[in-house]
């Protein structure tokens, strides 16, 4: 009994000796900082000299080809500074500018190599570091990088509209039909929507992993995709519950359908942002032929996204303006993405955006799931399962038409 009483007394706030609580919170932090500073000042006592040669790692984040020059933007994602001493292209030393100073950890540098490259041919650039190590970068197909002028941004905007805005808008034309079908069918359409979204989430995640592998690993590599997904999921969950609260606080006029449609549009919009980045970067790297086939493929692929937006508002009478807004929220980010991808592509950023898109979609699926419930409260009833599988099959089939 006595021991217990002593413990309780210990926990009482007046045991802090009159010091404010915030100070007690800060003291350990200050002690840690002081210990680290001492450790650094003494140069890591007991650890001895660093063994072995420096670890030199450079990730090529961006390649720009202009007539007679190859420009690489590299980021040091290793622990030590890297000095680029010489450069070769296809086993021949070349003149270059940039990277005059050692590149510190996480710093970037741009090297501009003089090389009379020929369109359509492959090149291997190797940067020779001061320790004799080589950082090789392959250019599988040399194609001039489009100049980032107004007409180029215009082209990217057009591309974004073709693959994002128009298909989504077309998909929304199913609204009158969806409005007339019986509730059972509507649940099937909702399930189809969830299937479409599930496919997109998986696709975006895998694409994100692929991009992350090509980017600088110092920022987390594949972890970025997952972080992006979690961030998006939590953000949208927060926004959704905030919207719900506001609506309940106001009148009962706001229906959960409109709220759902907006969430779906936002989720799809974030996904299209990542898709736009992939398209823009592939185009500027010359890996993408802009053709009718690609646009038709994307149109079919993304038209289904329009259906996903209107399914939750089938029982409402949304204004034309509101429908247009939903369409823009879902489709327009493709334009923004294409600009980012073409002008400032960064594999790590793109991977994060793909993860972000996937997380947003996952959140939307969670929001949509209750609307699949039939009269008996089952979610995975035969119609829903059929819809889910059909949605995934539809995305898979239309996805075959496009590959970025």
């Amino acid at each position: 009994m006595e021991g217990r009483a002593a413990t309780e007394r210990d926990l009482r706030p007046d045991r802090t000796g009159g010091l404010p609580a915030w100070l007690l919170g800060v003291v350990p932090l200050l002690l840690i900082l002081a210990a680290l500073a001492t450790f650094a000042a003494l140069d890591g006592p007991g650890l001895g000299e660093r063994r072995g040669p420096p670890a030199e790692e450079l990730a090529v984040e961006r390649t720009v080809l202009q007539p007679g020059t190859i420009e690489l933007t590299v980021r040091n994602d290793g622990p030590d500074a890297v000095s680029v001493a010489q450069a070769t292209v296809n086993d021949a030393f070349v003149q270059f500018t940039g990277a005059d100073q050692p590149i510190g950890r996480l710093e970037t540098a741009t090297v501009r190599l003089q090389q009379p490259w020929v369109e359509g041919e492959a090149y291997e650039v190797a940067l020779l570091t001061s320790s004799g190590g080589t950082i090789a970068h392959e250019i599988p197909v040399a194609v001039q990088t489009p100049a980032a002028d107004l007409s180029f941004y215009g082209l990217m905007a057009l591309l974004g509209i073709y693959v994002g805005v128009i298909p989504v808008a077309l998909g929304m034309l199913w609204l009158p039909w969806v409005r007339r079908i019986p509730p059972g069918w509507l649940r099937g359409v909702m399930a189809l929507t969830v299937g479409l979204l599930a496919f997109l989430a998986i696709d975006a995640t895998l694409e994100g992993f692929e991009l992350a592998a090509g980017g600088s690993q110092a920022f987390g590599g594949a972890g970025l995709v997952l972080v992006g997904a979690v961030v998006a999921f939590l953000l949208l969950t927060g926004v959704s519950s905030w919207l719900g609260q506001r609506r309940r606080a106001a009148t009962a006029a706001g229906a959960p359908g409109g709220h759902l449609a907006l969430l779906v549009a936002v989720g799809i919009g974030l996904h299209n942002l990542g898709e736009g980045v992939a398209i823009g970067s592939a185009y500027s790297a010359g890996a993408l032929a802009l053709g009718a086939f690609l646009v038709v493929g994307f149109a079919l692929h993304n038209t289904t996204e329009g259906l996903a937006i209107i399914a939750p508002i089938a029982h409402l009478r949304p204004s034309l303006g509101r429908l247009a807004l939903l369409g823009l929220v879902a489709g327009a980010p493709a334009v923004l993405g294409a600009w980012i991808g073409a002008a400032a592509f960064n594999a790590s950023l793109a991977a994060f955006l793909f993860g972000f898109g996937a997380g947003a979609i996952a959140q939307v699926i969670v929001q949509l799931a209750p609307s699949l419930r039939d009269g008996e409260g089952r979610t995975l009833h035969p119609i829903a399962v059929t819809g889910l599988l059909a949605g995934m099959a539809l995305m898979f089939a239309t996805g075959l038409l496009v590959s970025v």
Partner: protein, 346 residues
């Protein structure tokens, strides 16, 4: 001399190139009737990359020869005759001391390589003697690794400088003496013969070994070129190629020779990791004496191919003044450093 960037050179039209070639040509005296020919030829071939258009290390950066402790331009004409004394009976005893030392060498501007060297330089000293002399080479191993000196030539088994024979591998801090007669006359080489062989050679333990014939050779401007390369990232392929270690050294500063004077190149290939190497001379042909052992040339050519350990003597005269390239005729080696210029004057 006008400096043309690669881009400008490529972008320029043919007349501009002709002008550049003419400007380049004006850098050398031209009071000869063939000047017009040279100018015409220059117009046609100016795009071959003889000016600023050739491959080279990053502009404005050179290897610090002083820090390296040797300069390829000095190595070119540096023949080490050692210390000679007379043995009872009148025969010449020629002695050298070679020491192995681990040393960081700048093999390309800004690129350091942890090399193993003889006497702190790569290639090691060019040992030169006359046929029939008695040779005594004291070897001190100051490296952290066991080494030997294996000479090419005719000598007793115990003097072969390989593990398990004679003194065998010389441990760090130990020494030995290799002693044998200088035979046969010709161009030979020496190198370390300790396992792993490729590493011990590629790290820099080699040099030229010249045995002059008893009657000597015709007076000439004599040059030593040891063709080598460096695998700086240890992937068993060379990142940089050269004659006498420093790539492009003779591009940045051509080898000056005189018109009509006999030029004799002692050419040795020690290149590791590549099956063959070669030497190609521009604007001329040379007489080739394989291993330098015969008096009659085997070939009159402008390109010879050598495997590792192969060597030969090249002789020619330049009838025209001006700049003439020489390089490996493996374009890859050429553009990775193994190329240079002769500047013919007079």
């Amino acid at each position: 001399m006008p400096k043309l960037s690669r881009r400008r050179l490529l972008a320029a039209s043919v007349p501009a190139l002709g002008g550049a070639a003419a400007a380049l040509h004006s850098a050398v005296p031209h009071q000869h009737p063939w000047d017009a020919e040279a100018l015409a030829a220059g117009t046609e071939h100016a795009n071959a990359g003889h000016t600023g258009g050739h491959a080279n290390f990053r502009d404005g950066r050179t290897v610090d020869h002083r820090a390296n402790g040797f300069d390829p331009h000095t190595i070119l004409r540096d023949f080490d005759w050692g210390k000679s004394t007379r043995l009872p009976g009148g025969r010449v005893l020629r002695e050298w001391e070679l020491f192995a030392v681990d040393k960081e060498i700048e093999v390309a501007p800004g690129v350091k390589f942890a090399a193993w060297t003889y006497n702190g330089r790569i290639p090691g000293p060019t040992l030169r003697c006359r046929e029939g002399e008695r040779l005594r080479i004291t070897f001190v191993n100051g490296s952290e690794h066991p080494h030997t000196i294996h000479f090419h030539g005719i000598h007793p088994s115990a003097m072969d400088g390989v593990g398990g024979l004679g003194a065998g591998e010389i441990a760090p801090g130990s020494r030995t003496v290799y002693e044998f007669d200088a035979q046969p006359a010709g161009l030979h080489l020496y190198h370390c013969h300790v396992r792993p062989l490729a590493e011990h050679i590629a790290k820099g333990l080699y040099g030229a070994f010249i045995v002059d014939p008893a009657g000597g050779r015709e007076d000439a401007d004599e040059l030593v070129m040891v063709m080598n390369g460096f695998d700086t990232n240890f992937d068993r392929a060379n990142e940089v190629y050269a004659a006498n270690t420093i790539g492009f050294a003779y591009m940045d500063q051509p080898i000056v020779t005189r018109r009509d004077e006999l030029v004799r190149v002692y050419l040795v290939n020690v290149l590791e990791y590549d099956l063959i190497n070669s030497f190609h001379l521009h604007g001329n042909l040379f007489h080739y004496f394989p291993t330098g052992t015969g008096k009659t040339p085997s070939e009159f050519t402008d390109t010879v191919m050598l495997c590792q350990g192969q060597r030969g003597i090249l002789e020619w005269r330049f009838p025209y003044p001006g700049r003439f390239m020489f390089h490996a005729h493996q374009s890859e080696f050429t553009e990775l450093g193994w190329q240079g210029f002769f500047e013919v004057v007079g």
